[in-house]
């Protein structure tokens, strides 16, 4: 029983990272119908930014202040990956509007290049990031069951990010513009919204969220150039399952995929678990082909 509770707990913390990554992907997809295969590499960039920040703190900052590096790393990861995302958008993605399948292929090319770049700069072997000391240990619940602070911190971080995105999308003027473009691009355009600007900004923010996810991932293990590829498919499945364009859909999708993975893996074994989750998703899509939650539309081609 205790192992199962711990498994579930770990499942929730992994699915919270998925949630963060999928949130960016889902917003981008909902807005521009672009599937970003390089999203996993943006996660990787976030992780490497954390690694670099840690190294900078190690060599230039007094030892007593080392532990606060993680806060800076989080900010840096968001800003830098958002900037990389912005660059991607203005150089490559903007040529691909209205060609969703092509966007998928071109961004795969981007992901190849980014991975190789990481390999050239940091080397192929994985590197370790030392997590700050205030995240060591955990809360003792009962018996031997201990919930590690690291994973609790990740959950808290993800919850904060989701609240932040919610506030941004639903309570600010910019957010309202984004939602307007998501619902009806041409209408929004004719009402004077600069859709180019909205697109670029949304892409940057979605990328930044991936960066934060990467930063959070460093707490769970070592990082390498192919870090992103391990998460990208699950992230896509979250988007398919949850539906596009709503925050609640992403949260539900990530919860189901994460928990489903852990539960099935616990009940059977790792390989059969994945197969079962996939079958469940296919069966689910028989019932709701568009995913859990979608923006209602009467258009035929959505």
């Amino acid at each position: 029983m205790e192992t199962y509770v711990l498994q579930i707990f770990n499942g929730i913390s992994v699915s919270s990272i998925l949630m963060l990554a999928a949130l960016g992907l889902a917003i981008i997809f909902g807005l521009m119908k672009i599937i970003n295969m390089a999203h996993g590499e943006l996660i990787m960039i976030g992780a490497y930014v954390t690694f670099v920040t840690q190294n900078i703190f190690m060599s230039y900052v007094d030892k007593d202040y080392f532990d606060i590096y993680f806060i800076f790393a989080l900010l840096a990861a968001f800003v830098i990956t958002a900037f990389v995302g912005y660059l991607l958008e203005i150089t490559i993605i903007r040529h691909l509007y209205g060609r969703p399948l092509d966007s998928l292929l071109a961004t795969w090319g981007v992901s190849l290049v980014l991975q190789q770049l990481a390999r050239s700069i940091f080397g192929a072997p994985n590197v370790d990031v030392k997590s700050p000391t205030w995240l060591d240990g955990g809360i003792l619940i009962w018996g031997d069951l201990q919930l590690p602070y690291k994973r609790l911190f990740i959950m808290l971080l993800v919850a904060l990010c989701i609240c932040g995105v919610y506030y941004f999308l639903y309570k600010t003027t910019t957010g309202r513009r984004i939602r307007a473009v998501m619902q009806n691009r041409t209408m929004a355009k004719s009402l004077g919204i600069n859709t180019r600007k909205v697109d670029a900004m949304t892409f940057a923010i979605g990328s930044g969220l991936a960066g934060i996810a990467g930063c959070a991932l460093t707490l769970l293990g070592s990082i390498g150039p192919t870090l992103g590829t391990n998460y990208i498919i699950d992230t896509f499945m979250v988007v398919v399952l949850g539906g596009v364009g709503t925050i609640i859909g992403t949260v539900a999708g990530a919860g189901i995929i994460g928990l489903g993975n852990t539960t099935f893996e616990f009940l059977t074994d790792a390989s059969l678990g994945k197969v079962l989750v996939f079958s469940v998703v296919i069966l689910f899509l028989q019932w709701k082909p568009q995913g859990f939650f979608t923006i209602k539309s009467r258009a035929l081609d959505e």
């Binding site: 292929l105 190849l112 190789q116 398919v240 197969v275 035929l300």
Partner: protein
């Protein structure tokens, strides 16, 4: 008599010039290349069969499947099971006894016969594609949703094949083959015949695809790509056509796998993953989607380049293929064949212009 010759001339030299040249070159290649290179080329010919299938579903019908590695792998594994059983001569294959399996699993037994294995190499992918295709296309799951699902499919098969080590050989896959139908696989003569068989099968696959796309069904497939709802409103049921084309392309991928294994001598789950699957699509994209010639040229050319470049500079290859892919997809969606056709058009126009000018002067 002369008329027939003229007709044949017209058919092969004018209307199918490029493809005729390709096949002549492929047939003559053993005269110029070393045994090692021919073996590599045979592998690329197998890939070209697969590329034809991808072109049918992606280039013509507009459905992007990133799970073709699975079908390729299934075909390859069926063939590998046969080769493995032949080389272990009735005993339990080595990797099974390493994982502690004493008795041969029931589903391995029939694969001792070559015709059965070959049939299964095509039939299993076709059936799998029909089931998955029916369940997704019926519900109008399309575009990127379908693509993502196929991607998930390929990840799942990789995980499954690695996990079930006792039955599939795990990460190492199945290897250590000795003979095929009694002929030694290391014998150069066997290798050469395998190469020619591959080229023949490629020709057969090409003719088969050509038959499909030249018929009305081919038009329907293109129409699905360009306007699925219009096709639906005109009284066609796109689901049937989509399932059909998905199954055909899966079958071609399975065949390619079966051709691939005896030449390369190993199949492992790494060949079925997402990255090989996207690479397969990249061949078609670079060669030229929507033209069968483009698929063949792309598969052979990209893989030849890959083996040449990555032999000497493995790092550069990733940059090169990544950037080429981005540029081709964004700026030249019709690939190399498209570029060739554009050049031809410009050249013809300039010729016409010159003639007109000449006529004006007179």
């Amino acid at each position: 008599m002369l008329e027939i010759v003229a007709k044949i001339k017209e058919y092969f030299l004018k209307r199918n010039a490029v493809i005729s040249i390709i096949f002549v070159l492929l047939c003559l290649a053993p005269l110029f290349l070393s045994d090692f290179r021919i073996n590599l080329l045979g592998k690329f010919v197998a890939f070209a069969i697969l590329a034809l299938g991808i072109d049918l579903i992606w280039g013509y019908t507009g459905i992007l499947s990133l799970g073709h590695g699975v079908f390729f792998g299934l075909g390859a594994y069926c063939m590998a099971m046969y080769l493995k059983l032949e080389s272990s001569a009735g005993k339990v294959p080595d990797f099974m006894s390493w994982s502690g399996l004493e008795v041969m699993p029931w589903f391995w037994k029939p694969f001792a016969s070559a015709p059965f294995a070959l049939t299964m190499a095509i039939l299993i992918p076709v059936l799998l594609a029909m089931i998955i295709g029916y369940l997704t296309f019926k519900n109008r799951i399309r575009g990127v949703y379908f693509t993502i699902l196929t991607q998930a499919l390929s990840i799942i098969f990789v995980v499954l094949f690695i996990g079930q080590q006792a039955y599939t050989g795990g990460t190492n896959g199945i290897t250590n083959f000795k003979t095929i139908l009694g002929f030694s696989l290391s014998d150069p003569a066997t290798k050469l015949s395998l190469y020619y068989i591959a080229v023949l099968l490629l020709l057969a696959a090409y003719v088969f695809c050509k038959l499909i796309i030249d018929r009305r069904i081919g038009r329907v497939l293109v129409a699905i790509r360009d306007g699925e709802n219009r096709i639906r409103f005109s009284g066609y049921n796109p689901t049937v056509y989509k399932v059909f084309v998905y199954a055909i392309s899966a079958g071609l991928a399975g065949l390619a796998g079966a051709v691939y294994v005896p030449q390369v001598g190993i199949i492992s789950p790494a060949e079925m993953g997402i990255i090989p699957s996207i690479e397969m699509v990249s061949w078609v994209a670079i060669g030229g989607r929507g033209t069968l010639t483009g698929a063949i040229i792309g598969a052979v050319l990209v893989n030849s380049l890959k083996s040449v470049v990555s032999e000497s500079f493995p790092d550069i290859w990733s940059y090169f293929i990544g950037i080429t892919f981005i540029v081709i997809v964004i700026f030249m969606p019709s690939g190399l064949v498209g570029i060739y056709q554009q050049i031809k058009k410009v050249w013809r126009n300039s010729l016409l212009l010159k003639r007109k000018e000449a006529a004006m002067k007179h």
